[in-house]
Amino acid sequence: MDQQQRSSSGYSHSPRSPSSQPYLSVSVTDPVKLGNGVQAYISYRVITKTNLPDYQGPEKIVIRRYSDFVWLHDRLFEKYKGVFIPPLPEKSAVEKFRFSAEFIEMRRQALDVFVNRIASHQELQKSEDLKTFLQAEEETMERLRAHESSYFKKKPADLLQIFKDVQSRVSDVVLGKEKPVEESNPDYEKLKHYIFELENHLAEAQKHAYRLVKRHRELGQSLSDFGKAAKLLGACEADGLGKALTELGAKSETLSIRLQKEAHQLLMNFEEPLKDYVRAATIAERANAFRQQCELAETMKLKEINLFGLISNKTLNVPIQLKEDSEEAARRFESIVRLMNEEIVRFQDQKMIDMGRAFHEFAKGQARLANNIADAWRSLLPKLEACFT
């Protein structure tokens, strides 16, 4: 659990910092299975430690479930156009798989990361919805969750409608259904290409990382089987040889356990971050396309005005409302684009840190494992010597 972020923007996260400093620290813990049968679900404890005035401090604990996190995500996504909302872990399709211990732990970790990213994001941390999520009573959350579907169906403002349109067009573009904008900013194209390539490379790396986890498990299993077989063989033999085989078998079984542990660590500390990176890349891709669409929309709006002007016989008396609207739109778009540019830089920096950490954990884990293995086998050597003299 990350208590200390490297890029602390806004609030610090260490509860131990001087009380004058504002801090907001969140952790997601204690997954518990609730409910029965088809309606069973996992609930998590979300602990908020803060000295911010808006929050009920210094500590508040609430119970949340996955769909609550989804609610938060969706709300932020709607409200904060242009900001990279941190990705959520996937919703699992397979019923049985839902409750495997490993899956639950993976999800818990991912949710913890998710909330912390929001809490450490300059813009997002100020969100009302975040506050609600962290503080509201469970019944309130339940109500909000239920309203989720109906709430977003009604869209009064024109501007919001444009955004909705653009959103759907974004997915069309991303899916390749629509032709890309003719005169688009080359920077966007470059970034689009970059993200696309990056995603491919990352996905491949993540695939191998996952396989590596499997290999650790398999090696562990075969060490266990081999250990058993060696012990059985040792039972056939007399004296030194029998004893040696038995010792070897026992050591092998011990190492099997160690390997299983490492497999788990690898999954949590290396494979998950990689998967997370892949998810994030997808978001960046969409955001980039969105940015492109914003510019397009802006351009089209302006063209609309000009066209209107031409039709109405070169009078420059463009209806005031339309002009104001388009100027408003232009301003909005510009601020979004500016925000996004900042976001992209921030995203890259964050990713560098995340990956750096993942690499470090990976290397550390492998070094530790190898040392353990070496030590275990080494300790067997004098015993073997004794058996064979």
Partner: protein, 569 residues
């Protein structure tokens, strides 16, 4: 299976090897900077020469390629002298571990007892490990240069048929051989002959089983692959023979290895003609002519012989044995023997299981190494991409870190695969001993059949005696004697005498075989102790050594990326 697929595989692997070498040819950590790429081409040429015939006296390159377990070629790395330097500097092992430990290296391959550095062929490690300071004599046999030849003698079938001969080269310093280095050409049929003669001459010994005739495979497999597979198997077989302390001094082997031209050992005729001969003799036997068993024939088991009558008798005897007929007198030691047999069966069962699990372990290690390598390469590609297409400074920084991780992963992958190559050799001991079990069964079968012969003769004797008594009793009732009866008694007494002789021979033979069994068991126990000890020690030492190397590689990277560390436990 092999052959063309191997080529494709080696192509595929070639590019991966190339990439790996590119990764690892960093001037900082590889003193022989170009060692990688140069030896890579050596490796390739080695691969392609698989199909070709190579020099008679060159050491065989593919001791275990036919072994399906070891299908992926990479384990037979013959290259990278730099790596072996690494090995030796890392470990200060006792002498034997050095030999067992270091990977293939033509330069440092030491010829202890004239046998190559381990791994050339599996069983050489056996004799190597037991390289006793007592015997300094050696025999080294190589099988190479398969060639097609034509059947010269006119056969019933028109049109010449072809067969394959192999060059069998021997290097030895044993004085009983004529010369220290010589070669002959032999075909597979000759090997079968050799094996049959040995089986006859050395009953009760643990004789290494010969390679199968593989009639089906010879039709189904590609000719080249099949020949290669057979060549390897023949070499293993002959080397095992040479490793057996008794058999290596046999005349049969000497003749096989030395005598030029046609093999002067009696060929085994096929069963049908034997039966034919037997059928011809049967009426004579039934009518009392030549009904005695020639004593020297008694030395061989009835089965597979020409004596049908004897076959029937022994069959009858074994049936009566099974049905709890008259207890044969020779029983006492059998209890101890039965115990040993029981133990042997148990041992075989557990050995087979252990051997299987060992194979799984090897596979798991192999997979680990492979996946680690693939992960490393994926990160290399990612690094390359980030460095080239970077749009932000942070990306370049990350690319640097990633490269370190990737390089470490590729190195670790290599270590895993090297470790595995060694592990395979060590576990070969398990497979070898499984093969030895066949020999043991054969030796025990020799004993059983010898016992059966004795029992048959004993019961025959007893029935002969009974008949003689009856005749004498009947004859004595007639005053003055019964001319015909007296004659018959005389004949019977002759038969009894001959049978007595045969019995004596049979008993001697049985005792001899029992003794052979005993000495062989003792020998096997001692060798098993030594071989297994080496296997276990070698295996463990290897694990330690390579784990240390891998740990160091990763520790360095952990150090380099420690800037990202958090305080989390």
């Amino acid at each position: 299976m092999m052959g063309s697929e191997n080529e494709a595989e080696s192509q595929l692997f070639a590019s991966r090897e190339e990439m790996e070498n590119l990764v690892l040819d960093e001037p900082s950590d590889n003193p022989n900077g170009n060692g990688g790429s140069k030896s890579f081409s050596d490796y390739r040429s080695v691969m392609s020469s698989l199909a070709d015939t190579h020099h008679p006296l060159s050491p065989p390159l593919t001791p275990a390629d036919s072994d399906p377990l070891l299908a992926p070629q990479p384990y037979r790395d013959l290259r990278n002298p730099s790596l072996s330097h690494d090995n030796n500097s890392y470990i200060e092992p006792p002498a034997y571990a050095d030999v067992i430990f270091s990977p293939f290296d033509e330069n440092t391959g030491s010829e202890i007892n004239g046998i190559d550095s381990p791994g050339r062929s599996s069983d050489s490690s056996l004799s190597l490990s037991r390289s006793p300071s007592s015997s300094s004599d050696y025999i080294k046999i190589t099988v190479s240069n398969p060639q097609k030849e034509q059947e010269t003698s006119n056969s019933l079938v028109p049109g010449a048929s072809t067969y394959v001969t192999y060059l069998i080269t021997t290097r030895t310093n044993i004085p009983e051989f004529n010369g220290s280095e010589f070669g002959v050409r032999r075909r597979f049929k000759d090997v079968v002959t050799l094996s049959d003669r040995l089986a006859e001459a050395y009953r009760g010994f643990f004789i290494p089983p010969r390679p199968d005739k593989s009639v089906v495979e010879s039709q189904v497999m590609q000719k080249q692959e099949f020949v290669e597979q057979r060549r390897v198997a023949l070499e293993k077989y002959l080397r095992r023979l040479a490793a057996h302390p008794i058999i290596r001094n046999s005349d049969e082997l000497k003749v096989f290895l030395q005598v030029q031209g046609k093999l002067p050992l009696a060929t085994s005729t096929d069963v049908a003609s034997r039966m034919l001969d037997g059928a011809v003799n049967l009426p004579k036997q039934l009518f009392g002519e030549g009904s005695t068993v020639a004593p020297q024939d008694v030395v061989q088991p009835a089965k597979g012989g020409r004596d049908l009558l004897r076959l029937f008798k022994e069959l009858k005897q074994s049936v009566s044995n099974d049905w709890g007929g008259s207890r044969p007198p020779v029983v006492e030691e059998d209890k101890e023997f039965l115990e040993k047999k029981e133990k042997m069966n148990e041992f075989e069962l557990q050995l087979s299981n252990a051997s299987q699990q060992a194979e799984s372990l090897v596979k798991a290690q192999q997979d680990m190494g492979e996946t680690m390598g693939e992960l490393g390469l994926a990160f290399i590609k990612l690094t390359k991409f980030e460095t080239e297409e970077a749009m932000f400074e942070s990306q370049r920084v990350r690319a640097g870190d990633m490269k370190n991780v990737a390089t470490a992963a590729v190195k670790a992958s290599r270590f895993y695969r090297e470790l595995n190559a060694q592990t395979v050799k060590h576990f070969d001991t398990l497979h070898e001993y499984l093969g030895l079990m066949l020999s043991v069964h054969g030796a025990f079968a020799d004993r059983s059949s010898a016992l059966l012969t004795v029992q048959t003769l004993l019961s025959e004797l007893s029935s002969l005696h009974t008949r003689a008594e009856k005749l004498e009793a009947a004859s004595s009732k007639i005053f003055g004697g019964d001319k015909s009866r007296i004659r018959r008694i005389e004949e019977l007494k002759e038969t009894i005498r001959a049978t007595e002789d045969a019995k004596s021979v049979a008993v001697r033979e049985y005792e001899r075989i029992k003794e052979n069994n005993r000495t062989e068991l003792e020998r096997m126990e001692a060798e098993k102790h030594a071989d297994f000890s080496n296997m276990l020690k070698g295996f463990v030492l290897n694990q330690v050594g390579y784990a240390e190397k891998i740990a160091n590689v990763w520790a360095k990277v952990a150090e380099e990326t420690s800037g990202y560390a958090t305080d989390s436990a």
